[in-house]
């Protein structure tokens, strides 16, 4: 078989469980979690790839892959199904030398797929993860990497100093070259947080992965092992500052927040901006949404195939939902296929796919006096029975 040589390919780490999303990732991998009415989290890195001219993407899956695999399919929604492009799902597999099995860590996942990468003989490999919401031109990052003749370039963003100890922090010289990497430092020296987006020279990464695999003490992780090892070995490593919107949606609170940040006349994250940098999603073949004469919608997204008879305020209503007469949905994220029956009240909630809120049920409510978010969550297919209550912060 003929494989076209590629200058850049991307490897997307999509195998994590996303356990902090709790019931939302019980039956599905985090990258397949719905977002913004018609998208899934993985649409963002995949669309970024396509919009950056990267047409070969290996997608490493492990945890609950059924829905994710179905969703990716042959990569058609992102135009990755052409003669010289691909979206290749790469699950763990058994190998003759037993150096295989479940992916032990992020670096091991790439190590096990060295053969896949080698086929394209790439100069650069971009490593991405499936848990962030952002629009980014990876081509600009690769150009920066190339210009600085680096072995590895890491995208960074400025975080508030008080939050810096939650991140991998990169300490840099004035020219943005990295001299030190600290994973979650108690006393951070800088506020350059790693975004988990790496660009490597494939030759360098390939060697590093093989060396890392031979180290029995390694946890086979990019942040813990590969990056510090390369730095210690004296490789030139650059920080690539990124100032655009970027959100880790790894927790219930941040997922809710990121959805809310799509709303408003001038939203924090404006999906409409830049027509040439669209986010692509698998098409659900739903008709237009229907807004009834009794409906009242304020500051909200309503996606295709939904029918709204009730009141929706400051919320995201995804594809194929029904909001019954007299129902109220406020400050909530309603995922695809949800039915909210007449008279139900939903506040500060995330309703998982295909869940059902029966007549006059109440889900969630106001946040406590301490302003701590207490978001109620229903899992995929959950049913909140008629006239019952799901308390603020509770999960079903």
């Amino acid at each position: 078989m003929y494989f076209q040589k590629k200058r850049v390919i991307a490897m997307l780490l999509a195998g994590g469980q996303g356990s902090r999303l709790k019931v939302l990732t019980e039956k599905t991998a985090k990258p397949a979690v719905p977002f913004g009415g018609k998208y899934r989290i993985i649409d963002f890195p995949l669309s970024n790839c396509v919009n950056s001219g990267i047409d070969t993407v290996g997608i490493l899956t492990q945890y609950q892959p059924l829905e994710l695999n179905e969703y990716i399919g042959n990569g058609q929604p992102w135009n990755l199904n052409k003669t010289h492009s691909c979206a290749q799902v790469l699950p763990p597999y058994e190998r003759h030398d037993k150096k295989s099995g479940w992916y032990k860590g992020t670096a091991n996942a790439i190590y096990q797929n060295i053969d896949f990468v080698d086929r394209f003989d790439p100069d650069y490999v971009v490593i991405l993860s499936g848990d962030h919401i952002y629009k980014m031109d990876y081509a600009a990052m690769v150009a920066y990497h190339e210009k600085h003749n680096a072995s590895c370039t890491i995208a960074v963003r400025n975080v508030p100093l008080e939050e810096a100890s939650r991140f991998g922090i990169l300490n840099t010289n004035p020219d943005n070259s990295i001299y030190e990497f600290e994973e979650k430092p108690p006393v951070p020296k800088s506020t350059n947080a790693s975004m988990g987006i790496y660009c490597f020279n494939w030759k360098v990464l390939r060697e590093a992965l093989i060396a890392d695999e031979e180290d029995p003490k390694s946890s086979n992780d990019f942040g813990k092992n590969i990056i510090p090892n390369l730095l210690n070995a004296g490789h030139k490593m650059m920080a690539y500052p990124f100032n655009g919107y970027w959100k880790d949606v790894g927790t219930i609170d941040s997922l809710w927040e990121a959805n809310m940040e799509l709303l408003g006349k001038e939203p924090v994250f404006d999906l409409r901006s830049d027509e040439r940098f669209k986010i692509y999603a698998r098409n659900s073949a739903q008709p237009s949404s229907y807004i009834d004469e009794k409906a009242k919608i304020r500051n909200a997204f309503v996606a295709e195939g939904s029918e709204v008879y009730g009141t929706v305020k400051h919320s995201i209503i995804s594809v194929g939902c029904t909001i019954g007469e007299g129902a109220l949905v406020e400050d909530s994220v309603v995922m695809p296929g949800v039915t909210i029956e007449a008279g139900a009240i939903v506040r500060n909630a995330i309703l998982g796919e295909d869940s059902k809120i029966c007549k006059n049920a109440v889900v969630g409510g106001a946040f406590g006096p301490d302003e701590k978010k207490s978001i109620s969550v229903t899992s995929k297919g959950a049913v909140v029975e008629a006239n019952t209550v799901l308390l603020p912060g509770d999960m079903l």
Binding site: K265, R272, S288, S289, Y290, A303, E304, V312, I316, S318
Partner: protein, 369 residues
């Protein structure tokens, strides 16, 4: 069953709306083109070889359909073929369906002889289970099955083909005539055996007969040469054969029973993906009884209307009983009643356009009013 589909793009004109496009590529229902219904009906019945016969104005149609990927027709074997006059060395337009079929003989003769052919038009829209139609056709043993709709004939509307059916038997047929209410209207969906059709087309053309309804179906039936089976369709059928009907049917889609039948009846209706963001409803918008596609920005008022993709309704604008096509913008404080805005129309702030139920104002594509 090996089935081939032929879609006629229908070159009838319904005025400004079809100036620069065929009936097949006329936008309908917020996010569709009329041809999507024919394509979805065929593809949902497992038809994997479809020819599209178009006389002219087919550029917007080709742009919409592409390689047929959205309908699962981007196949190496079979798939989708555009049968345009140019590609068939006939530069003049066809006089009738039989003539166009004769020009498409290479397409018809391709593949196995045992195939059935479904012929379907693009101006009469429905969500029909063609698998059932095909099965009933085979059971009937008839030469031609015509899918029909009762309740359309009313003595006023001129029908391409109307049939009188008594005790399951066709007792009369009329062509291009405002048949009375006891007749059923042909939905311009026919099922025939391919080998038989090829023979008929050749014989008809040899005698300078080119009209499908008049010469082949009615003429053949009258001469006792062609047996005709009728498939009565129970669902919603929308005859969009004039601007007035198009307007009325567009607004009828807002009704629950109508939209559920036509969009979800037997299968989904597929269309070209546009990857628009979900529609945003602003702080002061007032949207009531509307069908709304994706990508809209709604800050004003809209009632009893169909809003296509990427429509903007600015604050203070008032839209009632309107069909607003893709990318059109209704400026601040503008007032529209009984209006069809074609694609990409800009209504300047404060403008007022008032049509009537039977005579809507139509604003041409790309215009500013």
């Amino acid at each position: 069953m090996n089935v081939m589909g032929i879609i006629f793009t229908n070159d009838a004109s319904i005025g400004e709306l079809t100036d620069k496009r065929t009936m097949a590529s006329l936008p309908f229902g917020g996010r569709y083109r009329q041809v999507d219904f024919a394509l979805s009906n065929l593809s949902s019945a497992g038809v994997r070889h479809v020819g599209i016969i178009s006389r002219h104005n087919y550029q917007s149609l080709m742009n919409h359909i592409g390689d047929g990927e959205e309908w699962g027709l981007e196949l190496e074997e079979g798939g989708l073929e555009f049968l345009t006059p140019y590609a068939q060395s006939v530069t003049d337009t066809y006089r009738g369906k039989l003539e166009s079929l004769n020009s498409a003989m290479d397409f018809l003769e391709y593949g196995a002889d045992d195939e059935l052919v479904v012929m379907i038009d693009s101006a009469i829209l429905s969500n029909v289970d063609l698998t059932d139609v095909l099965n009933k056709h085979v059971e009937s043993g008839a030469d031609v099955t015509v899918v029909t709709k009762a309740g359309v004939a009313n003595g006023v509307k001129k029908l391409d083909l109307a049939l009188k059916v008594e005790n399951g038997q066709v007792t009369d047929m009329v062509v291009d005539y405002a048949a009375p209410a006891e007749y059923v209207a042909s939905m311009d969906i026919f099922v025939l055996r391919k080998k038989w059709l090829i023979q008929q087309v050749k014989e008809m053309i040899a005698r300078d007969k080119f009209h499908m309804d008049r010469d082949l179906v009615m003429g053949g039936w009258q001469r006792g040469k062609v047996s005709v089976n009728v498939y009565p369709f129970a669902g919603i059928a929308m005859f969009n054969e004039s601007a007035e009907e198009y307007f009325r049917n567009s607004l009828a889609l807002i009704k629950e029973d109508v939209r559920h039948d036509i969009f979800h009846g037997n299968h989904p209706i597929f269309t070209k993906v546009r990857d628009r963001v979900p529609t945003y409803y602003g702080e002061a918008c007032d949207i009531e009884n509307c069908l709304v596609a994706d990508g809209c920005m709604l800050e004003g008022e809209a009632k009893d209307s169909v809003l296509f993709r990427q429509v903007t309704v600015c604050p203070g604008a008032e839209v009632k009983h309107c069909v607003i096509m893709n990318d059109s913008v209704v400026g601040e404080g503008a007032e529209l009643k009984y209006v069809i805005l074609d694609k990409n129309v800009t209504v300047t702030p404060g403008a007022k356009l008032i049509g009537t139920k039977t005579n809507p104002i139509i604003v041409k594509r790309g215009e500013t009013v």
